[in-house]
């Protein structure tokens, strides 16, 4: 697992937090990296966070996801919305 800038790899999980976001990158062929990314995804989901799989090049396409998908290019996790 590495934590680098977004442009360095295609598969990245960004979990928004007080540091901006925690980024976890993985190579789909690397089982350890996939397992680490999946564990982070599952932990964030367990806290109630929402996950969106989005287009690598921007937000043209995207969808809500419930399960970690190692083939997803970019996953962004955000906190539950609250009405003000």
């Amino acid at each position: 697992m590495t934590t680098e800038t977004l442009a360095d790899t295609r598969h990245v999980l960004s979990i928004t937090d007080g540091t901006g976001d925690t980024r976890i990158m993985w190579d789909p062929k690397n089982k350890d990296e996939v397992a680490t990314a999946k564990a982070a995804f599952d932990a964030a989901k367990a806290k109630g966070m929402l996950a969106y799989s989005v287009d690598d090049e921007g937000g043209r396409t995207g969808e809500v996801i419930q399960e970690f998908n190692k083939k997803a290019g970019k996953i962004i996790m955000v906190r539950q919305p609250q009405g003000g």
């Binding site: 937090d17 007080g18 937000g59 906190r79 919305p81 609250q82 003000g84």
Partner: protein, 222 residues
Amino acid sequence: MATVWPTSADDRVWSLWASGTTSTTTTSLVWNNWIGTSTVTNSTNTTYLTTADTIWGLWQTGPITPAPYRTPEEIQADADAAQARREEDSRRRLAAQQVRAQAEERATELLHALLTEEEMRYYLEHDEIQVRSQHGNLYVIEKRGVHGNIRQVDEHGCRLGRICVAPKMYDEERRVLPVQDGWIGQYLMLKHDEDLIIGRGNWSQRAECKHPNVPILERAAA
């Protein structure tokens, strides 16, 4: 005959002033308390007094504990310690500001990476984010906090309403998320999870299109 033992100078003087005025109490009794006698007796009470100096002293300063003597070296050491604390506070504040700036920079980078070219153009031109939602509605995320900063607009840009809804802005370590993370959440939800965010939001400033008869030029041009 009752005997009143003074509990404090305040109590004694107050009781004489406020409630000790029996038929035989005179102003001289109050005066005596001020100037001090050892005992004052009337038909109701015998009141034991301390001296005027004691009463005055209690009112003015209370018990006096003399300050311990401190050498010039000790005084200087205290001043140095206070200065060191101030410097440490400044360093801590500066470090927190740097961490915050880095978090905002990181969140801004993530936000920019999300926007399409068209959205980025609008963003740079208007300093707000225009989003075509999952169900085809048009929203604008205003860059001013995350409370009440989303407005629904029509194709003319007329405001149809304002929504107050945002992701929780604290993480598990009770750190405040950068505001850009709030906009990211709003953007993603409007784009891919519209029912959820609209369902949780509170609406205000509902309005109708002000130019219903004006043709939509962008659509005509397309």
